[in-house]
Symmetry: C2
Subunit: 414 residues, 2 copies
């Protein structure tokens, strides 16, 4: 066998191995100027061309991480659109985990090195949320809500859907004027300000992202709400004081399951036995680590829990789960909007950072769209109440009535 | 110290011990012609008079079981109403478990002796559900629905609320005409017949209560639905065949947590990766055995799970939880209706059985009202879908629109 032929047959073997490992999708995978593999039925929706043998080998050894790195480096070429390719791959992969030892080891190492201690959390959050508000302003809605929106109709705009999400959350915890609310992980402050303005509550909102807190305080002042909303640059573990409701939208993913007992204690000491709360978070159907490349490049230390794991937070205080809603299709739609806006601003993003950054973020956003579409990620809103919580909604019908305010629509428990 | 005085001080000590063990409620507890204990603030809403020292001692040793037995035997007298007394006791007890060794041991022994093997389940179900249809006809709604109803308004009648519950369930699993549905634990067949008549589906419904199945078959024939609903007298573990949806209302409590993996397999083999399902069951905020007296006299082998335990059923097949609703206030209301109807028929019940039976059932119904009111029991409806389920509702708004039919109101996932 000549050297060239031997290389070619090794390449073919590697491509076949990779193709099988990702669930034999409707995708053609080729080595540039070399062999290719694809579906037996010939139905190809997208193509991937890997530029060199070294990249192919890295992808075979650890597909999750090495594909992301290769895309970031421009060492692969996508044919037929990135999202089409990812949709095609995510669908058969939805129910799979890492199978071989090397990716598992790498994933485990990442988890160790990105732990969510108080200091670790500060690093992890800084990495993502302190990239500069200007960057996020390019592609989020005008209120900078960086969590899953709620689209009453799929055709709603992103601005409408983020507003609807904030109302959905406020009504789910049936805020009443004069109540005290604590928010753990408040982003740029939109929800806290919305609660104070439209539901007449007083809010203490915590966040360890410096850039976000500075922005949120500025907004509160601009909007004359600084007397009713206090933005505190501190860790959720330092929340003290008594409140009627605990709300956390998009923070639980950053807590890490090693810290759920701490979180449980924080919630109980803030709302006691008679309060209620809402957790909004990216979750999974079962325990499984987040995509290792996403943890490496985008969200260090992130972990989306299963509902079983969330029981570690609610059970110790005898909290009753009142309502769980899965909004994964809404997160897919939200991410489609973000991706579209991101693509429209990619020149500006490249000027702020560089082309590699653009590719990394494009892959993260498109990969997330595909993951939520395929159902390998879920978005849960969990409403809970303490064992002595006296007034709970009789049905959920009020959530679907046109009035934005929920107060006064409740029926007491007894 | 004279013998009489020694007895009296022992009695007082026992009463104090009992009073503290049940959480010092607003109840006066007395030994007949002897000492009494009660709240320090003097606020008494109900009274319990224990007829003799031996009964008092049994209640102190194992309050749950011995109180039930004493009430059944007429060895205690209630002042101010049974339900008032139970409400007063359940409220402070909501978050407690058995504390001392003897009740734990007795509870464990009960669990062993009432296991839900195929044979065990047959005994356990026969004990309760084969008491005679005439008995249940005295106090259930006209359709004999023996599970938590859904009251769109608290003032709805029981008949309206049971109808609304059946529609709520059917719409939650978005039944479409022509689909095949399997029901595990079908009672007297109301839901199966309702699904076939109003949602145009074909149903196979399983139950191991002979009396119920005979009645359900008769109804299907009477109503001309025997071509579309098949009632099968068999264990859920013997369900085979492929269906679009799996529905189980009020059976999970009888499965026992040792058998959740079996149940998980049954669900997966019937609906595969693309179906969906609904579990409606009495649950708890955390793992805790059911009241031992209720297991002894009413529901042998019953166990209401926590949501964490239900994950044992859903996680192995990668089922996604789409919706969880807690209807505990609705079960309290349902039980109030049942208790009221039961009391109106107590003469007839006593003729069918005896006075002891009347007292046992009164305590079971009133105790259940109190437990659901206090929040020591929950009622969960969990909707789930397989990882390949393609059409899931965009929002839950359609559940709250007036149309009884859900078909056609869906938005496909993609």
């Amino acid at each position: 066998m000549s050297g060239a032929r031997m290389f070619s047959s090794t390449d073919r073997w590697l491509l076949k191995k990779l193709y099988a490992a990702i669930g034999s999708p409707s995708v053609r995978i080729a080595l540039k100027d070399g062999p290719a593999v694809g579906p037996k039925d010939g139905h190809v929706v997208a193509g991937l061309v890997i530029h060199d043998r070294a990249t192919l080998m890295r992808i075979v050894v650890n597909p999750e991480v090495a594909f992301g790195e290769a895309y970031a480096d421009g060492a692969v070429e996508i044919q037929g659109g990135l999202l089409t390719l990812l949709d095609a791959v995510y669908c058969p992969m939805a129910a799979r985990g890492n199978s071989s030892w090397y990716p598992r080891l790498a994933s485990w190492w990442l988890r160790l090195s990105q732990g969510n201690t108080r200091l670790g959390s500060r690093h992890n959050i800084h990495h993502h949320y302190d990239l500069g508000n200007q960057f996020y302003q390019l592609w989020l809605d005008r209120n900078l809500v960086y969590t899953c929106a709620y689209f009453p109709e799929p055709s709603a705009t992103l601005e409408e859907a983020q507003l609807a999400k904030m109302n959905h959350v406020c009504r789910k915890v049936w805020l009443r004027p004069g109540e005290r609310v604590v928010e753990a992980g408040c982003g740029w402050g939109s929800l806290a300000l919305h609660m104070a303005r439209h539901y007449g509550v007083k809010v203490k909102a915590f966040n360890i992202s410096h850039e976000q807190i500075v922005y949120a305080r500025w907004r509160a002042q601009q909007e004359g709400l600084d007397g009713r909303v206090e933005f505190i640059e501190d860790d959720y573990r330092n929340i003290y004081g008594r409140f009627d409701a605990f709300v956390s939208v998009g923070m639980l993913e950053h807590v890490g399951r090693e810290h759920y007992r701490e979180m449980s204690k924080v919630i109980h000491r803030t709302i006691g036995d008679s309060g209620r709360g809402l957790l909004h978070f990216i979750g999974r159907n079962q325990r499984r680590p987040l995509n290792a490349w996403v943890r490496k490049r985008i969200f260090p230390g992130a972990y989306p829990p299963s509902l079983r794991e969330v029981a570690d937070i609610l059970e110790p205080s005898d909290f009753a789960v009142l309502d769980v809603e899965n909004l994964r299709l809404h997160y897919a739609r939200t991410l489609e909007h973000w991706l579209e806006r991101f693509e429209s601003s990619r020149q500006q993003v490249a000027t702020m950072f560089d082309d590699r950054f653009v590719r990394i973020w494009r892959l993260y956003l498109a990969g997330s769209v595909a993951a939520f579409r395929a159902g390998s990620m879920q978005l849960f809103q969990v409403v809970f109440a303490g064992p002595q919580c006296k007034a709970i909604p009789w049905t959920r019908a009020y959530l679907y009535q046109p009035q934005p305010q929920s107060a006064g629509r409740m029926q007491a428990a007894d």
